[in-house]
Structures are given as structure tokens and as C-alpha cells.
Symmetry: C2
Subunit: 309 residues, 2 copies
């Protein structure tokens, strides 16, 4: 089924202990759509500037991502983020953010986009998320991501849009912060009481937890010896998760086993994302590599020994 993502399309300058890159392709909608493209048809909504060129489009087109609704603003500049990570890669420090064309983005959605079955509101201003959510009211399933900035500064707007979606992806610390509740189980329940039937707590190098009503599932992260750049890991996780669910259709959303498989695909896509800078690794990833790591992760988390060990 068709999947639409609205979010940032960006140039990122990133420095980690393992290297640095200047103005590489990035942004939440880009990482999300590349990850989701292995499972379903994805359509990206978002603005870019004149500096966004053929090389950037090519990365998306090579993965079959539909870019018809990327709005190229004449004379505008693409969203830019610059940041660095410390030794343990757990915390990003933002050095610079230039909204560029995102500062005045007013999404004009096509009928195809409005009719999408699955919708993902990547991490952008909650008011913009709400505007898109309302325009795509026919979506049978919608999810969103957000961040501490909006929890701090736009809590009411964020609460409003959370009330309109089916699934929330947030870091565990953000769920606690948003719910004002230090216990994660209670905090996730508070979020679910606001509307969403599913909450996914992203836990970085420790993996992710899935809350669906009273049901709980958790998955450790795939153990990696090489982590170069964590930027976009959460968006890749969401892309793998929702891409897989969209490939099954809306009926699968009440299927616990499928949601658990979606968690595993999310984790696998995130693990590839962080092995290299920006979109480098996912851009040349294959479905076979995804499936091989999926099986490996499944074996690593199974109490019983599974074939292949």
C-alpha cells in the first residue's frame, strides 16, 4: 500500500570520532523513505532549495522513491543541519540549523498523496504535522516522530497531533519527558491514553520497545563493531517499521506477530544506517542483506537455538 512521508530533506554536515562529511544528503524524510523503499512504494513530501541537485534526486530515484511532491523553491536554500558527536556517539551537539525553504513551507498535497493509506509525519513542527494529518484524513494508519525541542516549546501542539495518529515513535527519554512520568511503562500508557494504539520507545544502542495496549515486546539493537554516524538511525527505524507494515496492508496492524517483525526490520535498517555516514550505507543496501541480518537478529534474540547457528 502507498506510504507518504512528510519531513525534512536536508544537507547535513556531521563530525564524529570516525570522520566527517560536509553537506551530505540527509533529513528525516530522506532517511525514512530510503529505509521504507525496500518494502513498499514511498512518496516524499517536503521542500528543497535550488542547491538540491541531480545527485541528491538520484539517490532517491535509485531506490524508487517517488519525488513528485518534493517542492523545489526557486532562489531558496535547502534545510541545513550541522552537528557533532562525542566519543560514545550517544549525544548529538547541534552547531548550526538553517531552516531555509522549510521556514515557509506550506505543503500543497496532490490528490494521490491525500489518498495515501499510510502516513508518516517525521520530526517537524507539530503544527505542520497536524496540517498534513488533517489533509490526509483518509489514511488508514498514521505515525509520527518528534523531539525534545517540540516537547519543550510546543507541548500543546504536539499533544494535539499525537491525538490524531495511530503510532508514536519517540526516544524513551522523550516519552518520559512528554508524559512527565519517569517510569517508561506508565509513560507509554499515558501516551496511548491520548489516542495512539501503539507506542515505540527507541532506545539507541539498547534497541527498542513496543507498547500495544497491555502488550509489550522489546528487541535489543543489532550488535555492531563499527558505528560511524548515528544521524538518521531513528528515521531509518521508522522507515523499516512502517514500510514493512504498509507492505502488508492495514489489516496487519492488529497482528502482534507482524508488529514484532516490523520492529525487527526497523532495527535492521537502523543498524545499517549507522555503519557509515549519512545515507551512504542504506543507499547501496540490498534486500538480501536486510533479510540476512533480520535472520541473524532473530537468532540472537531467540531463547531456543534456531537453524543456522
Amino acid at each position: 500500500m502507498s506510504l507518504v512521508v512528510v519531513g525534512s530533506i536536508a544537507f547535513d554536515s556531521v563530525k564524529t570520532p570516525f570522520g566527517e562529511r560536509e553537506r551530505m544528503l540527509g533529513g528525516s524524510a530522506v532517511h525514512f523513505s530510503l529505509a521504507a523503499s525496500f518494502f513498499t512504494e514511498v512518496r516524499v513530501v517536503g521542500p528543497v532549495g535550488e542547491d538540491f541537485g541531480d545527485d541528491e534526486y538520484a539517490v532517491l530515484h535509485k531506490r524508487g522513491v517517488n519525488t513528485d511532491e518534493i517542492e523545489r523553491v526557486e532562489g531558496g536554500k535547502t534545510f541545513f543541519w550541522s552537528g557533532d558527536y562525542e566519543y560514545d556517539l550517544n549525544t548529538a551537539h547541534t552547531n548550526d540549523t538553517q531552516l531555509g525553504v522549510f521556514g515557509e513551507f506550506d505543503p500543497k498535497l496532490s490528490d494521490d498523496t491525500k489518498a495515501a493509506d499510510f502516513l508518516f509525519l517525521a520530526n517537524i513542527h507539530p503544527a505542520l504535522q497536524l496540517q498534513v494529518r488533517k489533509a490526509c484524513e483518509g489514511a488508514s494508519f498514521s505515525g509520527l516522530d518528534s523531539m525534545n525541542l517540540w516537547i519543550d516549546s510546543e507541548r500543546d501542539a504536539l499533544a494535539e497531533v499525537i491525538g490524531t495518529v495511530d503510532l508514536v515513535f519517540l526516544n524513551d527519554a522523550e516519552i518520559r519527558m512528554f508524559a512527565k512520568e519517569p517510569n517508561l511503562v506508565k509513560a507509554a500508557r499515558k501516551v496511548m491514553e491520548m489516542g495512539p494504539g501503539v507506542v515505540v520507545a527507541k532506545q539507541g544502542e539498547y534497541g527498542a520497545s513496543l507498547f500495544v495496549g497491555d502488550r509489550f515486546f522489546a528487541l535489543p539493537a543489532f550488535p555492531l563493531e563499527t558505528v560511524q554516524d548515528p544521524t538518521g538511525a531513528g528515521d531509518s527505524f521508522a522507515g523499516g517499521f512502517l514500510g514493512y507494515m504498509a507492505s502488508l496492508g492495514a489489516d496487519a496492524l492488529s497482528d502482534q506477530a507482524q508488529l514484532r517483525r516490523a520492529m525487527t526490520y526497523g532495527s535492521v535498517l537502523a543498524s545499517f544506517n549507522v555503519e557509515e555516514f549519512g545515507t551512504e550505507r542504506v543507499a547501496r543496501l540490498t534486500r538480501d542483506e536486510i533479510d540476512a541480518r533480520y535472520s541473524e537478529l532473530r537468532r540472537m534474540t531467540s531463547l531456543a537455538e534456531l537453524p543456522g547457528e
Copy 2:
């Protein structure tokens, strides 16, 4: 098979956001032996003072723990620790430590103890761990725990005793710190290169990871709505893990599926430990409760839906 633990037997004064207790029974050997007692015969080695009375012995005896080798020092005072935890319970702040009789502890081990099959060196000075390890050279399996204090101040002595054991339990941050390597997979391998075939990285509320050569297994923590006091969680984990392995015998140590079950029992025992203060919860725990939570945790981590969901 018989399991011997050497470590602290203590009075703990603990304050958390959920309450406080003065001079309650605690210590690494106590938490370990209570947890292990559900699976096998456990013998505690360690000193106490005259202030250690019938009530404290009764908690151990009720669980069938062998206290013959608890050395009661006339005129001495039992090891005392006082600490508090912040809102999120992740970090303990030590307010006071009084070594008491532990300051001059020179273990005199009986022949029964020296002949134990399984040995656990709980978190005490590495030189003392080494002394006991050498005295119990017949043990077919030995494990140890340690802490940042010894990694900082007694690194060489710790490295020496690590070279003599089969299994190391440490927090993931401590493994990185000891190995001087920020990547956990590489850090665990460095520890294994020093001797131990098995490394368990304890990850607090996120669970634990098991490294055995090139094999990896990870398990999230059991999700709890009530966490009152994390003191002793790591020792309860080790007790559940090694108690279960000792119940199987030394042959099981090369059985990956059994090691994974041991991880699950460890996690279950740790989860009960933190629900109340000190030994309160584990002291009245039943094997049925353990098995029920084991099944629940198994269901929560299985990709397939298991019976009972």
C-alpha cells in the same frame, strides 16, 4: 551442584524517591545467594560482626542458604553501606561506607567450600577474589563481578583475577572502561581474550547481553511499573544465572540454549529484586512466581506469538 559465593554481607541504608530503609540486610553475597537458592545449594563465605543477629540469619536460612562459612567476628561490626538514588534510579550516590570486619577479612575456607563445583566472586577487592579463586582451584566453573572503583584503583589486580575465571559480569559501561574501548562488542572481546569464555554485560533497565566467543544473545529487562530500589539487582541477576547453571552441572556451560535460559532467569530474579527494598521481595518469592515471569519474559521477547498470549 554446589555453588559457593564470596562477597559482602552488609547492612544497607538506602533512600530512593519511593522510600527509605535503615540498616536493612544487604550485600552482594546476600543478594546473590538468595537468588541462586531457588535453583541449587548455595554456601556463603564472608565475615559479619556482632551486630549481625538471628533475624539476618533467618532470612538466609529460610531460603536454605548454607551459612556455615559466615564468620562472625567478636567485637566486630558488619560492613555498612549507605546510599541514595535520584529520580530515575539509574545512579547510586554513596554517602557512607564502613568496611568493619571486612577490612581484615582473611577467608578460612573449609574443605567442602574448596571442593565446590561452582564459584562466584562477588564484588570485593580483586586481591581477595584472587585469594579465594586460588584456594578453590577445583571449581569447574567460576565467575566474578566487579565495579568502577576497582577498575580505577586496582586495574592490574583485577586483570589478574579476570584471567583465572570463566565468566565476567560487569555493567556495560564498566566493560568499556576496563577494556578502554568504547565499542561494547570489541570491549567484550578484549575481556574474553584475557581468559573468560563468557562475558555478560549488565545494562540496567535495558536488560543484558551475553557474549560467548563469536556468539551473541541479548535480552531486554522485564518491564516494571514499580521499581523501588535497584540495590542488589546485578547480584540477583548473577545469582539467578549461576544458580540455574549450577543446577545443570558443568556440562551445560557449552550449551548456548542453557546459557540463554540462565540469562532469562537472571533477568527475572533481578526484576523481582528491584520491586521492593533490599531483600524484601526475593525473601518471600516462590519458584512458581519465578517460572510465571520467566514465561512472560519469554513471550515478550519472542518474534512469534507463543501460547498464553
